[in-house]
Amino acid sequence: MRDIFIHIALLLGMPPLLLGVINKTKALFAGRKGPPLLQPYYDLFKLTRKHVVISEVTTWVFTAAPVITLTALLIAGILVPQGPFRAPLGFTGDLILFAYLLGLGRFFTTTAALDTGSAFEGMGAAREATFACMSEPALFFALLVLAKMSGSLVLGDLLHAPLVTTGWEAEAAPLVLVAVGLFILLLAENCRIPVDDPNTHLELTMIHEVMVLDHSGPLLGLVLYGAAIKLFVLSSVFLHIVAPFQSGRAGLDWLAFVGEMLGVAVAIGVVESVMARLQMRHVNYLLIAAILFCGFGFVLLVR
């Protein structure tokens, strides 16, 4: 019961902190002082009190989309276990529900973008939908590898496969490949460099930020909060593969989990600092590389 409570508290409370850590890391690399770690929280708080500007072109989809996306992401977050603890909810086949809840979020984000009738936002939506066609197979290859290793179709058991399988080191090769693939997915799905640059709004090369150009006030707050939760959820999926450790003491394990999450945020910050964004037409190659990594993991395991 306590673990479930901590799980939900972390899922709701921690995501903006990850954004803060990423920004701080990037600032340190650039030799700046950077915004405070808690700046994303201040931003969200500020946005909730603002007015909303709603274009007269839009329909109810525009306001509903951030809510639906956030709901879908929260349910997905309940299915994903954090660290060595069990997820609050788990049943056979929930791994597919997880993937499709992310899809539901994508459906409404892109639809809301097109609802504004702006070509900018249309471009972003088209790119998001296109790149998903490549990231989705990669995600499912990764899920297949983990399902094969764990022999289970419950997302919780699946992700704990590296943790509980004795002698998993023998299966290290597919796991390493899947880890690389999932890291690419993590960057792509959360629109980080090298796929997308979360800091610029105005360039034609943007994906996520350009889709939410017309959202403002509480709506923008919901969108940003949802994006942070997506980052949190996908990072915790990724962590299960690269850091399958357990001390046996609950308090220590929770601390370790929080520390690892912050570590992932730092890693993303480092990647964003040392890499340039790819050209838009090269993003395909990166995502196909993710399919190849996860696919070869599958091939190694099945042979």
Partner: protein, 668 residues
């Protein structure tokens, strides 16, 4: 009166529902209402019949002699038939009600009565196809179905494109029927009768099984539109009236699937590669079908290609079940076939909804070209919401029905990973089906976000003559019912599964069937529960947000989009521009045709750019082949002199030759 006979009565009522109207005036809307009432009556009788026979403990079957030289009048009803009966009873009825407003006889005096006549005939024939237990009866019903669909698809036959699509359909469907003739004659040679009964396991050599399987696949595959046998489908669906498209896509394609499932159930377990072939065909059809759909800017062609995709998904499920049958894995059979049959229901719900919806849109905009639409949602709030619901459902996203059926198939594909661990024949490659489904899902999302947004969202790309508005209840009602069906199956799948389960176990031995319970493999209640939570939470969240925003929003401004001062409606992203990246990714299969102006001078004159994605197979292979044969075969006209005497001579010669052959045959 038993349920089975009620279904025969229903078939008769449906088949002749359009007949009384033929005696009324060409413009009589009362006659049209009478036809619709008869359709409702027939469907009600049939529905009661299905209910009666499902609550009866045993499967019903009747076999009577008739005066035809071949076969018997054999009909029967089991769970598998019942699964197919339900869409046949539901969708044509809703389509007929919709047609009252959509295709008013007063507005279409030239073809209204013919449409009603063949519409009813199509529904009645489909009922008979599903209950027929004799191949001769089945072929007769099949032919009535195929021909009435031809007349329905060519309703607007004053239009050359419609006639062309109709001819292509007729050629394709008869090519399929030809294979069916061969199939049933072969079966007759093996079993000794035309009755559709199970073939004994020892009776077939592997080669013969393969031949029978391929004939089944091709013969019924033409009707189902399994890629590459789909060439007739986009044209026929796009050019038919929308409620006819809904019936053709939502129900008639499924008759092909019925044939495949029924025949495989009769044959002994197939070889593993047969299942593999089905999987590969389904995956290919799914991915390429939806890729073609993304390339279309005609809303009905888009929906038609999406039907090809969904048939691909269903075939994948059948492939998985076939593998399971060979490998003696009851769970694959139940998950694969159960998923396929449920997807079939789901597709008939959401695709009919989308086709009916597209009819409303076409009525309002007078075009099928999505690139000219836009902004309809503000004029038609209900219609657009229903389209959104259908789009979410067809992308297989929770909380609607498409997700449940694809989820069952996913479980089967993921389960096939574990085969090699438990020993026995290993087919872990079947797990690749999950990858194909994932790719199809992502592509379908792109396709339907595009269709929804280009049609209903943004601003209109062309000036509209009349302000469009939501249609009246006769058109909204059927769509609302279909949407409710999508939601119910999505939120309470556990209540529809028993019938599906019963139908899927037709592929299993009796003892395996009793052991394999779908509900024991999958926690359907969880899926339904989460769907409800999702709907409830999102709904409450949306209401709260609306409340909060009511006092805190600034309205009456245009889209900001980086402060561009003078946006015009033509600057919006069109359907073609949205799909351009994906079309480029699939250019190896889609062969898009682009006409771009060459820009030479610094200030170029007005140019014209166009890009279309025609059907690669039809335009580059099938039609050239027929043109080639069309040049070759006229030489045979040498035989046709046009004189009765010569033809009589041919008959005499032929009879003599037969006599000679007969005498030689008797001697030896």
């Amino acid at each position: 009166m038993t349920g089975l006979w009620l279904i025969v009565v229903a078939a008769a009522v449906l088949a002749f529902s359009g007949l009384p109207a033929c005696f009324f005036s060409r413009r009589s809307c009362a006659a049209q209402r009478l036809s619709a009432a008869l359709m409702i009556l027939g469907s009600a009788i049939g529905g009661y019949g299905v209910f009666l026979s499902l609550s009866a403990p045993q499967n019903e079957a009747v076999s009577l002699p008739w005066t035809l030289p071949w076969g018997r009048f054999s009909i029967g009803l089991d769970a598998l038939s019942a699964v197919f009966l339900i869409p046949i009873l539901l969708v044509p009825m809703l389509g007929a009600i919709y047609g009252l407003g959509y295709w008013r006889q007063a507005d279409h005096p030239d073809n209204g009565r013919g449409l009603g006549l063949f519409y009813g005939l199509l529904a009645g024939a489909m009922l008979m196809v599903v209950v027929a237990r004799d191949s001769v009866l089945l072929l007769m019903a099949w032919e009535v179905m195929a021909v009435s669909a031809f007349f329905l698809a060519t309703t607007e036959n004053e239009n050359a494109a419609v006639r062309r699509a109709g001819w292509i359909y007729l050629v394709a469907t008869h090519s399929g029927t030809l294979c069916l003739f061969a199939l049933f004659v072969l079966l007759k040679k093996i079993t000794g009768s035309f009755a559709l009964s199970a073939v004994e396991t020892g009776a077939l050599s592997p080669t013969l099984t393969t031949i029978l399987f391929l004939l089944t696949l091709i013969g019924f595959g033409f009707k189902a539109g399994v890629m590459p046998l789909h060439v007739w489908l986009p044209g026929a669906h796009a050019n038919a009236p929308s409620h006819v498209s809904a019936v053709m896509s939502g129900v008639m394609l499924k008759m092909g699937i019925y044939g495949i499932v029924r025949l495989i159930a009769l044959l002994p377990p197939l070889e593993t590669w047969h299942g593999g072939l089905l999987l590969a065909l389904g995956a290919g059809a799914g991915i390429l079908g939806i890729a073609f759909a993304i390339g279309q800017s005609d809303i009905k062609r888009l929906l038609a290609y999406s039907s090809i995709e969904n048939i691909g998904i269903i075939v994948m499920g059948i492939g998985l079940a076939s593998l399971g049958r060979t490998l003696h894995r009851a769970d694959f059979v139940v998950l694969g076939l159960g998923g396929a049959l449920l997807h079939l229901w789901n597709h008939s719900l959401f695709k009919s909804l989308l086709f009916l919806n597209s009819g409303v849109v076409i009525h309002a905009t007078h075009t099928r070209e999505m690139n000219r639409m836009g902004g309809l949602a503000r004029h038609m709030p209900v219609t657009s919401t229903l389209f959104l619901l259908g789009a979410v459902a067809i992308c297989a996203l929770p909380p609607f029905n498409g997700f449940v059926s694809e989820w069952l198939m996913y479980l089967g594909f993921f389960g096939s990973l574990q085969v090699s661990a438990s020993g026995g024949a290993a087919w872990p490659t079947a797990a690749l089906g999950a990858i194909a489904l994932a790719a199809i899902g992502a592509l379908a999302l792109a396709c339907f976000v595009n269709a929804l947004s280009t049609t209903f969202l943004g601003v209109s790309r062309q000036p509209l003559a009349h302000e469009p508005h939501d249609p009246d209840l006769s058109q909204l009602g059927p769509m609302l019912l279909l949407a409710a069906g999508c939601t119910i199956v999505g939120c309470a799948p556990q209540y529809v599964m028993p019938l599906i389960q019963q139908a899927a176990s037709q592929w299993l031995d009796a003892d395996a069937a009793s052991a394999a319970s779908l509900l024991s493999y999958v926690p359907l209640r969880w899926i339904g529960g989460i769907a409800l939570v999702l709907l409830g939470a999102a709904g409450i969240g949306f209401l709260l947000l609306r409340l909060r925003l009511r006092t805190r929003s600034v309205c009456g401004v245009g889209t900001w989009s980086c402060g561009y001062a003078r946006p015009t409606s033509r600057m919006q992203y069109t359907s073609t521009s949205f799909g351009q990246m994906i079309v480029a990714l699939f250019a190896w299969a889609l062969w898009p045709q682009t006409k771009a102006p060459k820009i030479q001078a610094p200030l170029p004159s007005a140019g014209f750019f166009s890009t279309t994605v025609p059907d690669t197979l039809l335009d580059h292979f099938v039609l050239p082949f027929f043109r080639w044969t069309g040049r070759l075969l006229p030489r045979l006209r040498l035989l046709q002199q046009g004189r009765v005497q010569i033809y009589l001579l041919y008959i005499v010669v032929m009879v003599l030759l037969l006599l000679i052959w007969e005498t030689i045959g008797n001697k030896s």
